[in-house]
């Protein structure tokens, strides 16, 4: 059976123009075909029997698995709810569980979320959304060509549209892409026409961004000795001052993990400085593991963003001492629930504490104390997901019915039994 206008939850762009063919357990992306988006649908194919719930790698009934999961969480003195790769409804259920058992909630991508949240708390932000960029921008600067691989249809759907509400300049945007010398160049650089690509002799994207900030503040005198990066960035500044609407794009995961917060602060400063005279906005890309969704839901329900600790009976935003990675490393959690519904490959981090996995049906989780396979949102279950720009929420359809349970139902049952 063919389904159209299917939303793809496998990257933060949440493209919703997909056609997908479903034949019992098999799902196949039929349009578009010319990119890497198909693999996420292949990953969801189930040929033959449905995977069973498991306790310690042995098949058990769903009820037995739910009961065991409840026991583990009930007996834990400091549980951790982690992963959170899920749709709104499962996030709602997981938050209620976290609250009830005084757990800490973190996300699989919390390391890349934290710098953006921290800068927003400190400075605020200036941002745009996908359609606004598509129709308004005449100048786009992308830090890191790998962003094109991580968000495969960014160019075709947003930056090089066939039509635009704006002028010729917004239809044919000036697109400049920078890589540092440690960056792998995206194949897409060759596939699209008219991209200005520069790979600089810089150790990281962060270094390029800091250099750009310096040039925005003060334009250096150019001489024969001026290096390629400085020369290009000065040209870029001159171009930018004559453009109507410039969008800066970055993906935190491509920045230096330690420097990222400083780098995003610098990007925000660049934008806010330029805003005094011209229109310049940021468009950070993220959300490919549902982190925008999880963060939106916890922020409205608890009042604070992820990472969120409920052990004192009230929600505390505490990404420093209670992030999942350090809690696991320091043995500060004694049980973990890993919620991961979009891809089979998003498996839990290695740990020797009892782990409950509410996971993608094709996930291999033999080490888990409890594994409960659930439906994939947007394929097996109806739901909602939030896009990279944190503004658009897209509906996820149920296009296959092979009796895989909803993650939210499973979590609610576990919660009821505690």
């Amino acid at each position: 059976m063919q389904f159209t206008n299917v939303t793809c939850p496998h990257c933060g762009l949440l493209c919703d123009d997909l056609s997908v063919e479903v034949n019992e357990g098999l799902v196949k992306l039929t349009n578009p075909t010319n990119n890497s988006c198909a693999s996420a649908f292949e990953d969801a194919c189930i040929d033959g029997e449905l995977p069973s719930a498991q306790i310690n790698g042995k098949n058990v009934s769903l009820d037995a698995a739910i009961e065991r999961a409840s026991e583990i969480l009930k007996n834990s003195s400091q549980p951790l709810i982690n992963g959170m790769i899920a749709d709104v409804q499962a996030c709602r259920a997981a938050i209620a569980l976290t609250e009830k058992i005084g757990a800490v909630m973190d996300h699989a991508n919390s390391n890349t979320m934290r710098p953006n949240i921290a800068v927003m708390q400190r400075m605020g932000k200036v941002k745009t959304t996908l359609s606004e960029a598509r129709n308004r921008a005449d100048n786009v600067i992308i830090f890191g060509s790998q962003a094109l691989d991580r968000f495969p249809r960014l160019i075709s759907r947003v930056l090089q549209p066939e039509k635009s509400l704006g002028s010729e300049q917004t239809l044919h945007k000036t697109i400049t892409i920078f890589d540092a010398n440690n960056c792998e160049t995206s194949e897409q650089i060759k596939q699209h026409k008219g991209l200005n690509y520069h790979q600089f002799d810089a150790v990281s994207l962060d270094e390029i961004i800091q250099a750009f900030h310096g040039i925005i503040q003060t334009t250096p005198e150019l001489s024969d000795d001026t290096d390629d990066m400085t020369r290009t960035l000065v040209e870029l500044k001159n171009t930018l001052l004559n453009k109507n609407y410039t969008v800066l794009i970055w993906n935190t995961g491509l920045l230096d993990a330690i420097a990222a917060e400083q780098t995003i602060q610098t990007l925000t400063l660049i934008i806010k400085t330029l805003m005094k005279e011209i229109r310049c906005v940021g468009m950070p890309l993220g959300g490919s593991k549902g982190e925008i969704t999880a963060n939106q839901v916890i922020t409205w329900q608890s009042g604070v963003p992820l990472t969120t600790a409920f052990m004192s009976g009230v929600p505390i935003h505490d990404p420093v001492t209670h992030n999942a990675k350090s809690m696991l490393a320091n043995r500060e959690a004694d049980a973990m629930l890993w919620l991961s519904t979009y891809r089979s490959t998003d498996t839990p981090p290695n740990t020797d504490i009892p782990t409950i996995v509410i996971g993608h049906a094709n996930m291999q989780c033999n080490d888990a104390a409890v594994f409960i396979p659930v439906g994939v949102p947007g394929i097996d279950t109806r739901g909602l997901a939030c896009r990279t720009d944190s503004v658009a929420t897209l509906p996820l359809k149920k296009i296959r019915d092979i009796n895989l349970p909803n993650a939210s139902d499973i979590i609610e049952k576990i919660t009821q039994q505690i």
């Binding site: 709104v88 609250e99 605020g124 745009t128 229109r279 409205w300 009230v314």
Partner: protein
């Protein structure tokens, strides 16, 4: 099974009942004035010495949508300073200025509110706004969808399409976004800001080559002709600018005599007189409201202290960003539809401007003669958090309390205001009008906001006290749809309100140009843009009630 509310003093302006002692009965979810046949009273509450009103309705409060979440993240210190523990019925939460959704619902119910309306639902963000409202328990909800800066509408107006086509689009958007009203924010100004225009006055051509006045004309007519009960809800141009009262008066006239609601009008009632080039134009604004029966307004009173301003008005929020406290600010351009600006702000009584803003709000309340046409709001959280309503009511009801408060604000502001000379004190009956009967009437909620036979049993009971601030802060009892949810200011039971919507009739041919627009320019497809009724219930989490339109 009936509940008898015995001997309370009824304040029900919809039925001209001004403190009349009368029994009420609750059967199921409804109010009765006499015990229906075959019903037995199973519970009686002795309400001697109590005041009985309908549940209060807040017609303008920012409780859901992306901007509120941005505010929550930016106000982390306030969130952590106001933790709220859960218990066997209430969920945990935090925040005083921008509370978490559960906490917002509890705080509203504890003050006797039973319905709240989010005034800035961006169509593309409507799902999130409705999800946040669905997770706001205790109260009914509804939203006003934001139009007037969206490229589709501006292009239609610019091309001179017929009013009926604009009406179809407005109706379509109301369906698609599951809203009950239409709001316009800085008409054309948010769009102009995307072209780096920093100001736009009402008769100035925008980059879309139309004026804000034209947008108001078209939208107010559309709302009227579709029979949407709530008039076009207008956040006028030039918010916060000294001398903006002239723009506000021009905005009133732009509706050509059709109903128009001016929101947070305090922020739009400024003159430019005096040593500070900032003065009160409350008198001019109140006179205009008094003499123009098609105009209603809510005040958007400010209160002194820390808050955060969340608005769709990117143009004026950016203009005000240098006054941010603490020094941080957010501005977003959104999806060829709208925008948002979020800026923390601290109103200080020793600041001339802030002190005068405070006085201007009160001057408007006291000078608008008809309480059916002026509404009690702080534009939560922009003027102050909604939890300051009981204090605001006391300022309106108690002249000596008001004058004591006035006497400690900035000296020069005192000289620029005639507040101290105003003798008016609002009565309980007038408070019941502006917080119950009038909002229900102007929203088209026929069985809300009153205590008539057959009305929804949303009832708030206060123990009569000398100190009205105490009284309104902590009702003795609150019933929501017949269920006792608050006792002595404490939540005793949890209910989940519904979402009020309207669905005007329209010509479905409008979907043809809309489909082209979505296919060619948007990053969401038209079918996925629309929120269906079953999606509201199954995914978003709220049942809807559809209210009738009144074709004009």
């Amino acid at each position: 099974m009936a509940i008898k509310l015995s001997g309370g003093k009824i304040y029900d302006p919809a039925h001209q009942m001004d403190g009349v002692q009368q029994d009420l009965f609750i059967v199921g979810e409804k109010i009765y004035h006499a015990l229906p046949e075959h019903e037995k009273v199973t519970q009686t509450y002795d309400l001697k010495g109590c005041i009985v009103m309908a549940g209060a309705i807040d017609l303008h409060t920012h409780i859901g949508g992306g901007k509120v979440n941005i505010a929550r993240i930016m106000m982390l210190e306030d969130q952590h300073q106001h933790p709220q523990e859960g218990d066997h019925i209430c969920r945990t939460g935090c925040g005083h200025i921008v509370p978490s959704t559960f906490s917002a619902g509890y705080r509203y119910a504890e003050m006797g509110y039973t319905a709240c309306f989010e005034p800035a639902v961006l169509p593309v963000n409507a799902r999130q706004a409705h999800m946040e409202m669905a997770d706001t328990p205790m109260v009914d909800k509804g939203g006003y969808v934001l139009l007037g800066n969206d490229d589709f509408l501006l292009n239609m107006i610019q091309q001179g399409v017929e009013q009926s086509t604009i009406n179809d689009y407005v109706a379509w958007i109301l369906h698609a976004s599951q809203c009950i009203g239409v709001k316009v924010v800085n008409p054309g100004g948010i769009h102009a800001f995307k072209f780096n225009q920093r100001r736009l006055d009402i008769d100035e051509k925008s980059p879309a080559n139309i004026t804000p006045r034209e947008i108001i004309k078209k939208l107010s007519r559309a709302v009227h002709e579709l029979g949407v009960p709530h008039p076009l809800h207008v956040h006028a141009s030039n918010l916060g600018i000294p001398g903006n009262f002239k723009t506000t008066l021009a905005t009133m006239s732009a509706a050509d005599g059709l109903p128009i609601h001016l929101t947070h009008i305090q922020f739009h009632s400024y003159g430019a007189e005096g040593d500070y080039n900032f003065s009160s134009a409350a008198c001019e604004i109140a006179e205009a409201i008094n003499s123009t029966p098609n105009v209603t307004a809510d005040v958007g009173q400010i209160m002194f202290g820390q808050t955060i301003t969340t608005s769709g008005d990117t143009m004026m929020q950016y203009f005000g960003h240098e006054h941010a406290h603490p020094k941080k600010w957010t501005v977003m351009d959104i999806e060829c539809e709208a925008g948002c600006g979020v800026i923390p702000f601290k109103y200080r009584d020793k600041s001339f401007v802030n002190a005068l803003q405070w006085a201007i709000g009160l001057e408007i309340f006291l000078q608008v003669e008809d309480p059916w046409r002026v509404f009690l709001t702080t534009d939560h959280p922009n003027g102050a958090p909604f939890t300051s309503y009981p204090h605001l009511i006391k300022l309106l009801m108690n002249r000596s309390f008001r004058n004591d408060a006035f006497s400690i604000i900035h000296d020069e502001a005192q000289k620029m205001s005639n507040l101290a000379s105003m003798e008016r004190e609002y009565s309980l009956y007038e408070i019941a009008i502006m917080t119950r009967a009038a909002p229900a009437k102007i929203l088209g909620l026929s069985d809300h906001g009153h205590l008539g036979e057959g009305a929804s049993a949303n009832i708030t009971i206060y123990t009569q006290q000398e100190d009205v601030e105490q009284m309104f802060a902590k009702p003795a009892m609150v019933f929501k749809n017949g269920q006792l949810i608050v006792k002595e200011g404490q939540i005793v039971d949890i209910v989940h309100g519904i979402t009020h919507v309207i669905k005007p009739e329209y010509n479905e041919d409008i979907e043809k140009p809309l489909k082209d627009y979505f296919d060619n320019y948007q990053t969401i497809s038209l079918p996925n843009f629309k929120i269906s009724d079953d999606e509201m219930e199954e995914c978003i989490g709220s049942r809807i009630t559809v209210h009738p339109c009144v074709r004009n």
